[in-house]
Point group: C2
């Protein structure tokens, strides 16, 4: 028997089911499933994703059996509905839609009303007694088919529509109608103002447009139309938009899209018809009630594209209570069946409800958490399922800052007509095109993307923006759906805003905003402010804490935070971190006036080094004395600067230890090369010269002498401590003295001193010796027999060599912390600052599955980590293993860390909840 | 029983032997051994190296038993010789010398004539009837003891000598005697012109100098003198000179120096006395005959320090035929006993011969090879011993270039009075201080160090120079011995040259040479030329070929060369390379006009990249067309430049293949980042702009856009081939077409294409695909069913990740070549360009035993290599493994390569013989 490529679905007569997503796509599988559970679905058939795969593998040719199977499906459908394709009396019209196994909303092409032609339009008029609807459908179909399937740009059609509207406006006596921008024209002459004759004229003009661009008449044969539409859908699988979407959303492993051919039902057959989108729960806040929007006398595309702003679903009760109740029932059936929140589309055709699709509903993180917790309470799912239901990446958005309340109160409002389309708050400079958003972002600017409405072409710009504002569209418009998926704040459909893309400005009332002006969005209320409002960290509680609590019960991996200040430490503990995995002491040196002291040390250091070396090589007593006297001044300056830094560092550590209340704190000694602390521009160097009271040339000479060809592989990390042992000494002293002080106040401390950039066990031992000697000195000074706390001395594993000789290092080090940023840089030989030039290509070509700086390269760097873990544990059974690179906050990398048996991950405070959840999921996935 | 710290030696009464080098030092063990075999050695005792160790470990304190054992040794010695320490009638005088297990000539301190004081000097006069000798010895002793043991600088004493000489000159009526430089003064009043009274006066003045500087009288108690001298010798073990010597000569694992206290014998007791240095064979050319120099009526130090130029040993026959015959006999006895060439010192005291020391003689590489081969023929040693006798590092000097004969014939001679102290030829700019030599070398200049005579303080400068020229001293002077050890050309004792260090110039006859003037040295003839003479490669043959032939029989490791041109390839084959292990194609791009073509390609490339990327992301047909038309121009320029390079590269490869005559040739595809090929200075950029006919700003913009933060980890290696596949294609095409062409001329070819900087197997596979596709294209074009030769496609292993995933790579790669330079950089996290700032410290502190860029870091990088070898062989049993980093020419690293079982090493052509020998030694050492 020939392979089955076409799966039929109709109430009671269905080939597929919900489990066949991979083959039928999400939409196709769910259409089949809805048929199976008895929901009212317009019949149709699905062409499988396998066809898409074969199509691309065979130079865009279909398997030969396909044509026959489609014919057969069509016949079955005609029979089931009692309509016929191309029949001028009882014509069958179909939609042709894409549908892959993963949802890619709006990414691929869709054609509606297929089957219409010059004859069939008459049949529709007869059947519906609604010539306006028929001609409107026909002109829409011509445009859509021409644009999507035949590549005639939609602008040519819109131009014709505009011309007709302009002449209507002239006829109406509108002044300056010739000069009106489209936007204004649409307000004066909305689509609904077009008469049947206007629409007829439009159809005629549209057909001419087609003829002009394609050199042949618009195809009248519905079967040819169908073949063209199927080509278009399969062809759209690999268009740039779809590829970009999959890239951004990290969608992989799909073989292609399916094509769903489904009988059309019409929401625009008059006031007893309508269309809508529903969610079985509120996708924004998670409330357990029917949620959605609808528009009477409209087609579904009107809602999704945001062309008209729809009404809340509760209003349907007034319009048609029976249908409303039917939806309430369907909502419960869907949830009982799918055990998850569903997002469905429906159409009412002359009083009859049709379900067009259902799928797992996208939701805000807030809603996801609440729904998961509620469903456990409702016994729909268990705790483990609840944990797995939350995308760790997504909950990050819960932790995004909100506005400072008092500041927000005082701020001037630009618009409050918008919908709260995606929660959170955003502050940025207004830009008016997606391209600008990308460009400005690349220059390091925060931007808000302001658009009339967004479309799939805007995806990259949306990704680049902090927040999104649209003047049109509802809660389920493209902008809203995508923004929620991205966890970005969005205010949609702010109807009082007029946007002028060309001039790059927008108006609301008397206010206007130009490109580059700062604005603020409140995505929870739908308000746009005319200024920059201060952001404050979010409060996390309720279901969020419950689900993280469940996660903590399951999780085996510890979670710590990377935090450099008492404030960070506080935030980390609040988010559930059980300690600090990386406290970067150099960040302390940048604060306020300290940088001057630190720079004083740096300016003296190279001289100290050079003279000390010269002394070592000198035997002549006279020359020796000479060198020694030359050394006095720089040495004094160097040591003085260090002693000035000592109390400052000590205070920092005290503050951190106090916040941690006995949780461990891994403190990394000075890491970056010294030149990073000096100004590289002449202006800054001049200022420094003035502050230091030395010449600009002297500063320049030091900067020059510290310059490195490859600073990433230069004089940094423990190499500094080897050259300048006093730096290690002072840092160790500050840590120990701070710990003793905090301990004496009855607060537990667990300091862990971490030596960076160790590649050779002897580097570690030399630095450890200094730390131990410093401890002994302090003990003597303070007359202590032993320290009143346990102290660990360990190392970063970030140099490949260190991973390879980890057994030797483990003999003397109490812990390892994998510095996966540097380990990736050195292990893969990529400079993070330069890899941009080729890494994008590398991920695109599949050389690396993911950007190895975002997700651990398990095959390579992961293998190095495994080697180091095995060697380390062999040499010291109880060695503590952690990770403090940025991968520590990446869910997929966390899964890896769990699998190799690390003791903990450390990540930025805001990623701590993500890590808590991802750690639990890692356990459950195994 | 107390530990034995003092070992006595005297004819027939000897505690030690030659095997006790570690404990007695080389000198002490051989003195004992000479006593044992009945040679006439002045008696004495050796204080062990263990004492030195204890001395440094115990804060410069001696073991308590030492004093008694020294007293006892002294008593024994007094008894054996019938002389007494401090006895004014029959006094014992001793020398106190250092002597470690490894020879460190002149590096540590020596004191002679110890035991002299105001009374003993009288006893010596009585005994010798030579007051001049007695007072001369006494004044020398005071200066030496004061300087070496008590830290009173010798300049103070020399000043007194000069003053006396100046007044003698005045008395003689020399005009302008007050203004004479020391040099001129010494010519007018040599030391021998001083009368007894002058010497007495000198002694008196010297004692005052001592009193002034030390605040006490010059010590008259011989035992106190002895204690001070022993202190001085042990103290000298860790002086800067000695440390530097051990550093430069890579001497490690010694516990300290021994101290030899030995009865003085005097070569300066009149014309029946003398002193000399002998070699059992000619250390310069290896001839099997007594070789050496002597001076009558002189002390040994006069010879070694080069103060007087000695006579060839054959002249001794005339002076004293008995002694001469005795030496001939001793020569044979020494060789029969030690089975190696010996270097010995002797003194004739009033007609009696004394052997002062013997040790394995340093020799030129030339001599080493000849002696080893001769000794096999003489059945003194076997072939394996002969192979082990040659220091691989040393034979490098045999391969140093000589002058082009015709050019040398025509060159103007500056001096031909010098001795051929160390063979070879050298060309460089004259400098007159060791410091200058170092500084100029650091600026990348070739220098010849010109000195009156050299001293241990000059070691670093000698190391920096290409060649060494001295005006004084013989074949065994410091300059000669050290230069031979270093394998550097040296002309010594060119007596007609006057050197003025202060003015930094020298004169010979009417010619003068100033600092910076170019000169040339012929170290085989002892000639100095006034100009730059062309150097040509050396001819290697005779015993050299024989011993390398023996080495080839033993060796298991293949030896290839790194060679980029037909000329290099020719040299490589001549030196015995069996193929090329690394042919760097980028070096070809720098030649002549090609760089312009290559730069044309580079200037177009980034535009091609950017536009191609934009095209990939563009769906809009109109914009697409627009981009495509924008792409035309840069693409044309880019492809045109590449096609211009194709025939040039093809010719290069043809030339190389022809030279190799069927030996394999590993060709590496383009490796360095593109910015390396562009000028970075504005001047060069302007020139380029003119050549290219574009604006300077455009050049600057490209340079800027190619700039990298860490170029070592940047867009280079196969990453270029991934971004610009056409570069890989053109290079592959050039290789294949050249191979087909050469093959068609009946010459075998074995091309191996090597893809650089692979870190991920997919990089390799993508590049391999391009190469395979190129081969297929060529086969189609040339109508070939298969290529007429075998081709291998393999990769460098130089990124740590590649080593870790070597099994995956081996599945698709035919060979691995370890790029240990980069593997060390990335594996250890050292940028070679920057590591200078800390790596010297690192080696000094013992963090790394050797500079890991010179000798493979076996514990770390070596482990990575082992991992890669094991994984590679597991995946592909017959995988070919080689090394092409600079370590491929380092003997210790070659030993490692043998041990991990590499198939071959590849090194620079001149290192090929070194590698052949080191490879054989690696087998014999196991």
């Amino acid at each position: 028997m020939a392979k089955k490529y076409v799966y039929f679905f109709h109430k009671g007569k269905t080939d597929g089911n919900a489990k066949m997503k991979h083959l039928l796509g999400g939409k196709g599988a769910n259409l089949a499933e809805m048929c199976n559970i008895g929901l009212p679905v317009p019949g149709g058939f699905t062409i499988t994703t396998e066809v898409c795969k074969i199509y691309y593998e065979n130079n865009r040719k279909y398997p030969k059996e396909l044509k026959g199977q489609i014919e057969e499906g069509l016949k079955k459908l005609e029979k089931a509905l009692g309509k016929r394709f191309g029949d001028k009396n009882n014509p069958l019209l179909v939609s042709v839609r894409s549908g892959a196994a993963a949802s890619m909303p709006g990414m691929m092409d869709t054609i509606l009303n297929l089957g219409l032609n010059d004859e069939v339009v008459g049949g529709i008029i007869k059947l519906t007694n609604n010539p306006r609807f028929a001609w409107d459908s026909y002109r829409r179909f011509i445009q859509m088919f021409s644009d999507v399937a035949m590549g005639v740009d939609h602008h040519f059609f819109e131009h014709e529509l505009e011309e007709i509207k302009r002449s209507l406006a002239k006829n109406k006596g509108v002044k300056g109608a010739d000069l009106l921008v489209q936007e204004a024209l649409n307000k004066i002459i909305p689509d609904t103002a077009l008469s049947v004759n206007d629409l007829k004229e439009l159809v005629s003009r549209y057909k001419k447009v087609y003829q002009k661009h394609k050199g042949s008449e618009f195809p009248q044969d519905p079967k040819k139309q169908l073949a063209g539409a199927i080509d278009a859908v399969f062809g759209s699988w690999n268009n740039a938009r779809a590829i970009a979407y999959r890239e951004i959303n990290n969608i992989k492993g799909l073989i292609g899209t399916a094509v769903n051919v489904q009988a059309m039902v019409f929401g625009n057959m008059g006031e007893d018809s309508g269309t809508g989108v529903g969610f079985t729960r509120d996708p924004s806040i998670g409330d357990n009630k029917l949620y959605g929007e609808f528009l009477m006398n409209a087609q579904g595309e009107d809602v999704v594209a945001g062309i008209r702003t729809p009404l809340p679903i509760k209003n349907l009760k007034k319009e048609n209570v029976e249908i409303y109740n039917q939806l309430l029932k369907i909502r419960l059936e869907l949830e009982r069946h799918y055990r998850d929140m569903q997002d469905f589309e429906f159409t009412i055709e002359r009083g009859t409800l049709y379900m067009l699709q259902t799928r797992t509903g996208k939701r805000t993180a807030h809603a996801a958490v609440k729904i998961a917790v509620d469903m456990v309470r409702e016994k729909l799912i268990d705790k483990k399922t609840a944990i797995m239901r939350i995308e760790p990446e997504q909950i990050d958005q819960l932790l995004h800052p909100m506005f400072e309340i008092e500041e927000e109160k005082k701020a001037s409002i630009f618009s409050k007509s918008g919908l709260p389309a995606s929660p959170g708050a955003a502050v940025g400079q207004a830009v008016f095109t997606a391209k600008d958003a990308e460009n400005w972002k690349n220059e390091g600017k925060d931007v808000i993307l302001c658009r009339l409405e967004t479309s799939p072409e805007d995806i990259r710009g949306m990704n680049a923006a902090c927040g999104i504002l649209t003047a049109r569209g509802g809660m389920t418009s493209h902008a809203a759906v995508v923004a929620r998926g991205m966890g970005k704040c969005c205010v949609a459909g702010a109807g009082d805003i007029t946007i002028n893309e060309n001039k790059k400005e927008m108006q609301a009332g008397n206010s206007s905003i130009k490109e580059g002006d700062w604005i603020s969005l409140n995505g929870n209320k739908g308000i746009v402010y005319l200024e920059k409002i201060k952001l404050v960290p979010p409060k996390v509680s309720g279901p969020f804490d419950i689900i993280l609590g469940w996660a903590d019960e399951v999780r085996k991996l510890g979670v710590r935070a990377n935090a450099d200040t008492p404030l960070d430490a506080k935030a980390a503990v609040k988010f559930g971190a059980k300690g600090i995995g990386l406290c970067r002491t150099e960040h302390m040196f940048f604060q306020g006036a300290r940088i001057s002291t630190f720079r004083k040390m740096i300016l003296a250091a190279p001289g100290v080094k050079t003279l000390r070396e010269a002394l070592e090589h000198e035997d002549d007593e006279i020359k020796k004395k000479n060198l020694q006297s030359q050394l006095q001044e720089p040495l004094k300056q160097y040591l003085n600067a260090l002693s000035e830094l000592l109390p400052l560092q000590r205070e920092d550590f005290k503050g951190i230890f106090k916040e941690l209340k006995g949780y461990p704190c891994t403190i990394r000694l000075l890491d970056p090369p010294l030149h990073e602390f000096l100004p590289h521009e002449e202006k800054g160097q001049k200022e420094l010269a003035d502050i230091m009271g030395i010449s600009l040339n002297e500063i320049k000479a030091t900067v020059e002498s510290l310059k490195e060809a490859n600073p990433m592989l230069g004089h940094r990390g423990c190499r500094l401590g080897i050259t300048y042992p006093e730096i290690t000494e002072i840092q160790a002293q500050a840590i120990i003295e701070a710990a003793i002080d905090v301990c004496s106040r009855g607060i537990k401390v667990k300091p862990e001193i971490m030596i960076p950039l160790v590649g050779n066990v002897k580097e570690f031992s030399l630095q450890k010796q200094i730390i131990i000697a410093t401890i002994e000195k302090i003990k003597t000074k303070k007359k202590l027999k032993k320290l009143p706390f346990e102290i660990k001395i360990g190392t970063m594993i970030e140099v490949p060599r260190a991973a390879i000789v980890a057994d030797e290092i483990a003999k003397v080090a109490d812990f390892f912390s994998f510095g996966t940023n540097d380990l990736t840089q050195m292990g893969c030989g990529f400079s993070r600052d330069d890899a941009g030039k080729f890494l994008v290509d590398y991920v695109k070509l599949g050389i690396y599955e993911n950007d190895p700086f975002q997700t651990i390269d398990e095959q390579g760097i992961g293998k190095l980590i495994k080697i180091a873990c095995d060697l380390g544990r062999k040499a010291r059974g109880n060695i503590k293993l952690g990770i403090c690179g940025e991968h520590g906050g990446d869910p997929q990398s966390i899964k890896f860390c769990h699998e190799v048996g690390l003791n903990y991950v450390s990540c930025s405070p805001y990623r701590v909840p993500v890590a808590r959840l991802a750690g639990a999921q890692a356990v459950l996935k195994n």
